[in-house]
Subunit: 377 residues, 2 copies
């Protein structure tokens, strides 16, 4: 019998938290970064490579999978874990964010959102209940409620409408989830844009409804970093200490460190994978753009002290060549390096929090970025 | 001190040969299939994955590497093995074939071929001497003479002119190669199209000049399979038994088996990698086109008895999904399966020749292909 979902807070250092999530598909050390596996694959990496880069958990997108290959089909094939050959934990989003960002035509009503599929143009309905059902069919370990995410800046009335709708959908999601197989988790999502009062109302009401974990949505959608961090700092203290906190769709390495400092436990973001496909490496020395001609004759590895073999075994000259020649291997190797760096960074926060040295860690990490690429010479 | 190039004929069964090539970068069991690493990468696979698929040796293309990133640059970075992080044997072609097939504008003269780079339009000269020099700079274990390859069908006079030019270039290549660092090998290339007399004249003259190994070029360039196999059957007996024989740019699994039956030791071809990127898997049951909708709900692996984990661990439904969704992982997994299948096929020929059971092996392999995909149900 697989373990049921639970969260254990193991250590704190200031607001920063070191914990562990138990899921039916294994444990997740927090703070945790979730690689994005939109279409049931982390782009460019086989599951063993994702694991080798240090991942305990990946995220998959309900919107994409409901449209192709279809949730019922994945269920008939034994669920998403078996489908994508990833035996560890999976979190699925609810599909709401992609409906807003990818589908050209959509109509949000109290009952559900109706949208046009970006694949074949058919009209599709997604309700809070259907979003839960789809995630049941996929069999993810952590499901997310359907919410409405508003781009910033936005008018107060619009932020309030979407926040209240998301709360109503949260309550319906919870009721629907009571039919789900046991052991899995459902997270609520705090909305409210950049308005502190709306954020607090959203967070407090969600806590009253009661979820296995709480996400902060609607950030990294156009606002300055300081607004994002201020909002996290206001919302996190309202959330129960014994439940994991997930900052959705964030972010840069600096965003992650600063959010951990404010009490966030989980992250997902396309940056390490998408930027890897576009020639950018994240390293201890900050980002390195391998497209740049200055790397063409550089025999040095990206980081000879990295835990990632790719960062040690390939020269910058070779990576530059692969990127310039548009070879798949360039995307594969840089995706690997970037995921490993994100995981190494999360591992660093975990060690530092346990040792009560988080501030020193945060400081030294930022020093490395500021010294920059050539500082390693 | 690395071993110098040598070839050891270990067993024969009819005309089929089991052997071993020793190179400065390790041993190559023959019959051998060389994965194509055109731009210093086997498309989609890191070197450890190429090795895991069973490869002792890869091929890289002089034409591409001389244009980008440049042979002198690779030499300054420590040579091609270090550049691409592949510590095993490498064969480089001479660039001649790509000059003919990729470069829009070219002029073949006695001295050299002048062509327009497909990358930046500059005019580039390639002589037999420069082709040897470039391969020295790359540091490949096996270098090929510059030759002129003619598409079939072609007029006798044209075949004869190109064959004689290739012979003249063979002699010049050998003289140039005498300056190369010791231990490496230079192969001559038999030309002459589909004309038996020209082929024999080419082969006999090359043997008189003397090379470490002999390639048959100018096949799989438009002629029927029976013409290719007849030509191999005529040329191979003229080549010395104690030197490896390399059939360039061939081919399908059936081509390989039939060429081994006629005394060929080495092959290279883009089919397993290119077809893998286009959704086609080579298996014991013949080719399987994963684009086909009939795979959408099929939970079966490609081949549960394969030595390749990818062929065992992923469902056809998932591979179909990846291919339809245009995900990199589809290309990666099918490239892996195909290279492993080609290597498994070569391993099968080696075992069968050693056991003097090559005809039975050839028969049973073809039976598997004829039973087809659904025969595995």
């Amino acid at each position: 019998m697989a373990d049921a979902f639970s969260f254990h807070l193991l250590a704190t250092d200031g607001a920063a938290r070191r914990g562990e999530i138990v899921t039916p598909h294994g444990r997740v050390a927090t703070p945790a970064f979730m690689a994005v596996g939109t279409q049931a694959t982390v782009k460019g990496l086989a599951p063993d490579a994702v694991r080798a880069a240090g991942a305990d958990i990946v995220l998959a997108n309900t919107y994409h999978l409901m449209l192709r290959p279809g949730a019922e089909r994945i269920a008939a094939l034994g669920g998403l874990h078996r489908f994508m050959n990833w035996p560890r934990a999976i979190l699925t989003d609810s599909g709401g964010f992609q409906v807003m960002s990818l589908s050209g035509l959509r109509k949000v009503e109290d009952d559900c959102v109706t949208f046009r599929s970006h694949l074949d143009g058919t009209m599709v309905e997604l309700s809070p209940e259907r979003a839960v059902e789809i995630q049941d069919l996929l069999g993810s370990d952590i499901a997310m409620q359907l919410d409405e995410c508003v781009r910033l800046p936005a008018a107060h009335a619009e932020l309030r409408r979407a926040m209240l709708l998301s709360l109503a959908w949260a309550a319906r999601s919870k009721r629907a989830f009571e039919q789900a197989p046991p052991g899995r988790a459902l997270f609520g999502i705090v909305q409210g844009g950049d308005d502190p009062a709306l954020r607090l109302e959203s967070a407090r009401t969600l806590v009253d409804i009661g979820f296995h974990g709480y996400a902060i949505g609607g950030l990294a959608v156009g606002e300055p970093q300081e607004v994002m961090l201020r909002t996290i700092g206001e919302v996190a203290p309202v959330l129960p200490a014994d439940r994991p906190r997930y900052l959705m769709g964030v972010g840069t390495p600096e965003d992650l460190i600063e959010a951990v400092a404010r009490g966030i436990d989980m992250f997902d973001c396309v940056l390490p994978t998408r930027n890897g496909r576009h020639g950018l490496a994240f390293t201890r020395f900050g980002p390195i753009n391998l497209k740049n001609a200055r790397h063409a004759d550089d025999p040095r590895p990206l980081d000879e002290a990295s835990s990632c073999p790719v960062a040690r075994d390939y020269s910058r000259a070779y990576l530059h060549h692969l990127v310039k020649a548009n070879e798949m291997l360039g995307a594969i190797l840089l995706t690997t390096v970037n995921l490993a760096y994100y995981q190494e960074l999360m591992g660093g926060t975990r060690g530092a929090i346990a040792a009560k040295e988080f501030d020193a860690f945060r400081h030294s990490i930022k020093e490395g970025w500021e010294r920059g690429d050539l500082g390693s010479l």
